[in-house]
Amino acid sequence: MTETYELTDLDKLEAESVHIFREVAATIERPGLLFSGGKDSVVMLHLATKAFWPAPVPFPIMHVDTGQNFDEVIEFRDKVVDKYGLRLIVASVQDDIDAGRVHEEYPGAPRNRLQTVTLLRGIRENQFGAVFGGARRDEEKARAKERVFSFRDEFGAWDPRNQRPELWSLYNGRHRKGENIRVFPLSNWTELDIWTYIRDEQIELPPLYYAHKRQVVERDSMLYAVNRFIVPGEGETVFEETVRYRTMGDATTTGCVQSSAATPEAVVEEVAAARLTERGATRGDDRISEAGMEDRKKEGYF
């Protein structure tokens, strides 16, 4: 062994994320971790368990439930909660619809945009001082300027022109009651880093992430699996394809890609060679406008 004391890039990313978790636990009251069952939130939770070892994760996880989930994801979520002995809080979009706080455009419409209201309510009701989110800066332009500790006012809003400077590894999580800090421990990870880490650490994911055979339809040049949310319309042809998912969003808008990558190793290879961003490829909701993400973040979205 050489005595150069070098860390590999993944070790360094891991160390930085662990540092962030500990910093929040030490300085901010009542943190919570946003857990969707998507790979980023799974990696984030995995890092949290490593940060506090041998103690349990010292905060609850919250699932903002659109009510339009892949069954596999909910099953997976409950299994993880069991495995780590976590406290799970479910903030349900359906509750907000039922209470008239938000309105569905039409029954079965995508609920991604509605999530923001539910998320903010969940934060308020649980008095979270900090909420961990799995967003990465490489995902999207507006995110590239996001801080690791992102200050949100009492309306949950993000003000890109008024962000706190963030220097060295000194994080300022001070806030008043009602305000909160969104914390992004995966800020500096790329999609490839995430997958390489999943492979190296053998982290379990919902099975949908790996190639399997599905009945699909093609819409707007994206593939959607036929299930209770995606009902083939007239003139749409259903065909069988070997596919996998690159993200886990609302089941009505999350598409899959044709792929034969059935193992983490194969996915790493595929991602390394990919020529489309994961959001561009499979998230209908981000295609709405060029500034889609920026507008949503200002409203309080992650």
Binding site: R22, E23, A26, R164, A281
Partner: protein, 620 residues
């Protein structure tokens, strides 16, 4: 060997081609996805450009798109088979000094653009200065738009020479120059045929090969305690007693069995185990690693404490000199103001005692008449903190030498600070005769004289007192009567005459130390009043403070303790002339401080002495 991370901060004046260069790096290293490229092509076409404008790839928020400028730090990611890169892309205008400082704070390398047609401009110098202020070890000057100067070697050399001359004023570890054309791609990813005269490597190769592992401080072991892990799991006996100190190693290496000292308490113990995240047992934890340390002794340790090696400690001080970059647009730094200071994992309050000068970051001129620092201004200040900070100068360690100031009213981060060192005392004194007088010394001294019977507990209190003073950053030295008899006073016995000489010598040594700025702690039976008074007089004549502390432990108690078995021997008649048995102890009639064993343990008694010192020095 798996790949390593390289963090780069970029800066350039508007239109020097920074966005184009970054776009080129991303594009040529295939970090650009097709959908991103398509969106850029569409926008370029809409704006009437023939080819896709690579600069658009790195362009972020809508406000910026509309104004056509970059307003904040944006982070970009790309990787080659050799390395993963994170670019902190910062705007170059003076108005955005704040952003460049932010991006530079974590960078391993700075990439600064110069337009070959314009040469070294004021802003190029400013960018280089900021890079050096923030301690970025590697500075890479990209002379861009070489295509517009006919790829001229002369022009390149001219710019290089001029910049080198300026750079001698800066602290730059590693400076390199690369002629490129961001637009055409010359020397960006591969070496250009258009500049055969250039013998160096392409920018990308240069970045891939940059050696940064030794830029960290691997010598001074520093571990700011971040979080205490106590599982409290009653079901598991081992876990129940587990107490781990979690944090990120800020310098050096920690191994199991290492002797360590905890600051500010000054207690020492050993490392029992070093754990990586998730409980991987480690043979060593080194700088940048997030670890959990287990220690052999149960010591009260909290977040904000600093673990180091006993013989290699950081500075501990409350008066600190630092460079400050002001980052708030709604307020400015003014002497006298108080802020929350975040340094390593410690938060305390700091007030600005003095603004020594404001630095013109274009000319490096020092304006000593300045009365404040506004947004994007940089200056040198003297701070006083409520609790002592354990720090190293920023030049020596970026982790333990940096801090931020937070406005207590708005909770905003208002300043970034780089510590120069402990403040020397305010020295607006007149120098005379070339000799240093006492006021000019960094610290002021005094003598604490502990007198009392053998076994009264003087030494225990003295040891504790010394430890605490040193931990608080104050030079202190223990003069122990028993130990001095082995050296300085080895020629002396226990006759009244020799006892008097013994006390005189110790008194003189203490006086010299106090004069030199040290707290001399004397632990000496010194049974005769007249001898002690002589020592006091010697100090008073020299204008040095002298505190007589009487350790008033009853003889029966001392005799019962009898730590060295001397009382037993004296009673048995094996030794004669033993103080308290067959030689008198003349107790002080009006000591400056009287300590009784019933007042508390050694730590409590030492605290009483410290308080007395504070009162003497008018600090409370």
């Amino acid at each position: 060997m798996a790949s390593q991370l390289l963090r780069i901060a970029t800066a350039g004046s508007v239109d020097d081609g920074k966005s184009t260069l970054i776009g080129r790096l991303l594009y040529d290293s295939k970090a650009i996805f097709e959908d991103q490229l398509e969106s850029v092509s569409a926008t370029s076409q809409a704006r009437g450009h023939a080819a896709p404008d690579l600069a658009l790839l790195t362009d972020g928020l809508r406000a910026e798109r509309e104004q056509g400028i970059t307003i904040d730090v944006a982070y970009r990611y790309f990787a080659t088979p050799k390395r993963k890169f994170i670019i902190a892309d910062t705007p170059g205008h003076i108005q955005y000094t704040r952003n460049m400082v932010t991006g530079a704070s974590t960078a391993d390398a700075a990439l600064i653009l110069i337009d070959a047609r314009n040469g070294v401009l004021e802003q190029s110098r400013r960018h280089a200065f900021l890079a050096s202020l923030l301690g970025i070890p590697h500075l890479i000057m990209c002379i861009n738009k070489m295509d517009l100067v006919d790829y001229s070697q002369d022009r390149f050399e001219e710019i290089r020479t001029e910049f080198r001359r300026f750079a001698t004023k800066l602290e730059v570890g590693d400076l390199s120059f690369i002629p490129v054309s961001a637009l055409a791609g010359d020397n960006v990813v591969s070496v250009s045929e258009n500049m055969a005269w250039y013998e160096g490597t392409s920018l990308l190769h240069h970045l891939e090969d940059l050696h940064v592992a030794s830029d960290r401080n691997l010598i001074d072991a520093r571990f700011p305690v971040q979080y205490v892990i106590r599982p409290h799991q009653s079901t598991d006996a081992v876990l129940h007693d587990f107490r781990g100190y979690a944090g990120t190693v800020a310098g050096g290496v920690f191994r199991p069995d290492d002797d360590v000292t905890i600051l500010p308490s000054g207690f020492s113990t050993k490392v029992k185990a070093v754990w990586g995240p998730g409980g991987t047992p480690l043979k060593e934890g080194f700088a940048d690693q997030a670890v959990t340390l287990e220690l052999t002794d149960q010591i009260d340790i909290a977040r904000g404490d600093m673990i180091c090696r006993p013989a290699n400690r950081p500075h501990s001080a409350q008066d600190i000199d630092a460079m400050i970059a002001w980052m708030d647009e709604r307020s400015s730094l003014t002497p006298g103001a108080t802020y929350t200071i975040q340094h390593t994992t410690r938060s305390t309050r700091a007030s600005i005692k003095d603004l020594e000068y404001r630095l013109d970051i274009n000319t490096l001129h020092r304006d000593e008449a300045a009365t404040g620092l506004a947004l994007n201004e940089i200056g040198r200040v003297r701070l006083r903190t409520q609790q002592p900070l354990q720090f190293d100068p920023y030049r020596r360690n970026r982790e333990t030498g940096s801090f931020i100031l937070v406005d207590e009213a708005t909770n905003n981060t208002v300043a970034a600070g780089m510590i120069l060192g402990p403040s020397l005392r305010e020295s607006n004194v007149v120098w005379h005769g070339g000799a240093v007088n006492r006021e000019q010394r960094a610290t002021s001294g005094l003598t604490v004289w502990l007198t009392g019977l053998s076994g009264s507990g003087k030494s225990t209190v003295a040891v504790e007192l010394e430890r605490r003073l040193v931990a608080a950053g104050r030079p202190a030295y223990l003069l122990d009567g028993d130990n001095l008899r082995h050296g300085l006073n080895s020629d002396l016995g226990f006759s009244a005459e020799h006892r008097a000489e013994n006390v005189r010598r110790v008194g003189e040594v203490a006086k010299l130390m106090a004069d030199a700025g040290v707290v001399a702690i004397v632990s000496l039976v010194s049974p005769y009043r007249a001898d002690r008074d002589r020592a006091r007089t010697a100090h008073e004549e020299a204008g040095l403070p002298f505190l007589e502390v009487f350790m008033d432990t009853p003889l029966e108690v001392c005799e019962e303790r009898d730590p060295k078995g001397m009382y037993a021997k004296a009673r048995a008649g094996e030794i004669t002339g033993f103080t308290g048995i067959d030689d008198p102890y003349e107790a002080p009639q009006s000591p400056d401080l009287l300590l009784r064993p019933t007042d508390g343990d050694a730590a409590a008694l030492a605290a009483v002495v410290l308080e007395r010192i504070d009162r003497l020095e008018g600090n409370v």
